[in-house]
């Protein structure tokens, strides 16, 4: 029987009027897409907007988002929450995020289990922390707070990471699943990131997948990575999704589908029809 993870666990207070089909296929919304979208309005289940592209954006930028929203559900995906920065969360940022989420009536909002800046400096990157119990508590408390502030489901995305800390006492997935469980929030599972990080750190991506409670998965992200000269992987979002990542996606689907699936492509962005063809592979893979 098909399950609807988006609906099933959400407390009534966080349900919004907009929901996605459980097996929805979506695209990451980028400015390069606008001309095609506004002319053709292709068939896509939903779009995901990068929150920071619209927080404090000029009116004409928001008007474009509004036009998209008139035709499609829009979820929000952030890169600037700084959940694990040592300083407390930025309330002004959260105020703006709440306003934006209300504006598009986002079915859910997501950001990363990471830090992005500290001591007044913004690094504009998704940076890992040591995986230790003390930070589970910190991240969980903050994530739960964000969900309450938003009044919507809030999902945490796993990172692609390139370093491991010597002071970590647990695996990334133990840390990630603990934060989601203790906060009562949600997984925004990036399958490409699982593959990239597992490769870089010599871990088994299937062991990672096995740790995930799929009833708490809001959405799955897919993207392409780049292989560095030293053989490590970097999450660049500038390639098609690799075959091993599609294979991992199929195993994720077998474990916990259906779930909404979103394709991200941020550099060397192809035309929308090409993106849609790439997205369509998800349907083929999980058939």
């Amino acid at each position: 029987m098909a399950r609807d993870p988006v609906q099933r666990w959400a407390p009534a207070s966080t349900l919004t009027g907009v929901t996605l089909p459980a097996d929805a296929l979506g695209l990451g919304l980028r400015p390069a897409h606008y001309p095609y979208l506004f002319e053709r309005w292709p068939r896509v289940d939903y779009f995901e907007a990068i929150s920071e592209n619209f927080l404090g954006a000029p009116g004409r930028t928001l008007e474009k988002l509004d036009r998209v929203r008139e035709r499609y559900p829009v979820v929000l995906h952030g890169v600037g929450l700084n959940l694990l920065g040592h300083e407390p969360l930025d309330e002004a940022y959260l105020d703006a995020l709440c306003r934006l989420a209300d504006r598009v009536d986002a079915p859910f909002v997501t950001d990363h289990l990471c830090w992005t800046g500290a001591s007044g400096a913004a690094h504009h990157d998704l940076l890992p922390v040591p995986y230790v119990p003390e930070l589970i508590e910190l991240a969980a408390e903050r994530a739960a707070y964000v969900e309450r502030r938003l009044g919507r489901r809030f999902g945490l995305e796993n990172l692609s990471s390139y370093v491991e800390f010597t002071r970590s006492t647990m695996s990334e997935w133990e840390f990630y699943t603990s934060v989601v469980r203790e906060s009562g929030t949600w997984f925004m599972l990036d399958v490409n990131n699982i593959y990239v990080s597992s490769h870089n750190h010599g871990k088994d991506p299937d062991e990672y997948l096995a740790s995930i409670d799929f009833s708490r998965v809001l959405e799955v992200h897919m993207a392409g990575y780049t292989t560095e000269p030293d053989g490590s992987f970097v999450d660049t979002h500038d390639h098609p999704v690799s075959e091993p990542v599609w294979a991992l996606y199929r195993r994720a689907w077998e474990r916990g589908g259906p779930f909404p699936t979103l394709l991200e492509w941020d550099a060397h962005i192809p035309a929308v029809p090409e993106l849609l063809a790439e997205l369509e592979k998800a349907r083929e893979v999980r058939a």
């Binding site: 040592h86 690094h123 504009h124 003390e134 010597t166 490590s232």
Partner: protein, 280 residues
């Protein structure tokens, strides 16, 4: 800010990580490389070696990403300036700017704020570069300006129009050029090159433009010299006073045709949405 801060050790660790990330890239080999030998030893010991390299080489991924991401945003925000420098030299200036003004906001679009001033200070003897940076900054400002309703004078405004100050819309910038940079900027926009663009010779006399932010982009409106003089005066003076100042600086020949020309300038400027209202 909300809630409590993280533990003290996290603050120290994040400070060390931030320092590594911001370590300038080494240019000595003719390519940009992470200067891993400069990383703080005590922080590098926090990182495990991996199958793909030692701890410092793994940190270098973040170090490179930091700089290349910021270079890319600065290049996109100051495209004409970047091409006049050429990307290699531009990135060197960008490095100095970012070391002096590290990004402090979650909003990456704010990171380039003030770069035109930095270029003006560092390259005061190169007027084309200084002008290019100002043009890029003006373009960026009108592109990001909030949408405001254009001012359309009503009959009720007629009585006070000449005694009030017209407010320039935030989506409009007046720029002067001594080099034909507006045209060059437009031409270079369709090129993907990173090499230094040829410097155009200076104009025989300065030219003026209004950059007007519109839903589809930024319109470049050439202004007559007297028209530009009038609009520049409007920033500080009521319309009647600004017109009087322009008239006073005109030759007898110019003065005769001024009323008709001024009506034409004002009609076009209102039609193009130059103004957002009258100052109270």
């Amino acid at each position: 800010m909300s809630g409590h801060a993280g533990p003290a050790w996290l603050a120290e660790l994040q400070a060390g990580f931030g320092q590594v990330i911001r370590t300038p890239l080494d240019r000595s080999t003719g390519t940009l490389r992470a200067a891993t030998a400069s990383y703080r030893d005590d922080f590098v010991r926090e990182i495990a070696d991996s199958a793909f390299g030692d701890a410092a080489s793994r940190l270098a991924v973040y170090n490179r990403q930091y700089w290349f991401r910021l270079f890319t945003v600065l290049q996109a925000s100051f495209p004409l300036t970047a091409r006049l420098f050429g990307y290699w030299a531009f990135n060197e200036v960008a490095t100095r700017f970012l070391l002096a003004h590290p990004p402090a906001s979650w909003d990456l679009e704010r990171m380039p704020d003030g770069f035109e001033g930095f270029v003006a200070e560092e390259h005061a003897r190169d007027p084309a570069l200084v002008e290019a940076a100002r043009l890029d900054a003006a373009w960026r400002r009108v592109f990001a300006a909030p949408t405001v309703r254009p001012y359309r004078p009503t009959t009720a405004d007629a009585a006070r129009l000449f005694t009030s100050r017209l407010l320039l819309s935030p989506a409009v910038a007046l720029v002067t050029e001594s080099f034909p940079l507006v045209a060059l900027r437009h031409r270079l926009a369709s090129e993907r090159a990173e090499t230094p663009a040829a410097r155009p010779p200076a104009l025989e006399r300065p030219a003026w433009w209004a950059l007007v932010g519109e839903p589809g982009g930024v319109r470049h409106v050439p202004l007559e010299p007297r028209e530009a003089e009038l609009f520049a005066l409007l920033d500080a003076l009521p319309l009647g006073e600004a017109l009087a100042r322009v008239e006073a600086s005109c030759s007898d020949d110019e003065r005769r045709g001024l009323p008709e020309r001024a009506r034409g300038w004002l009609a076009r400027s209102v039609q193009l949405g130059f103004f957002s209202g009258l100052a109270e």
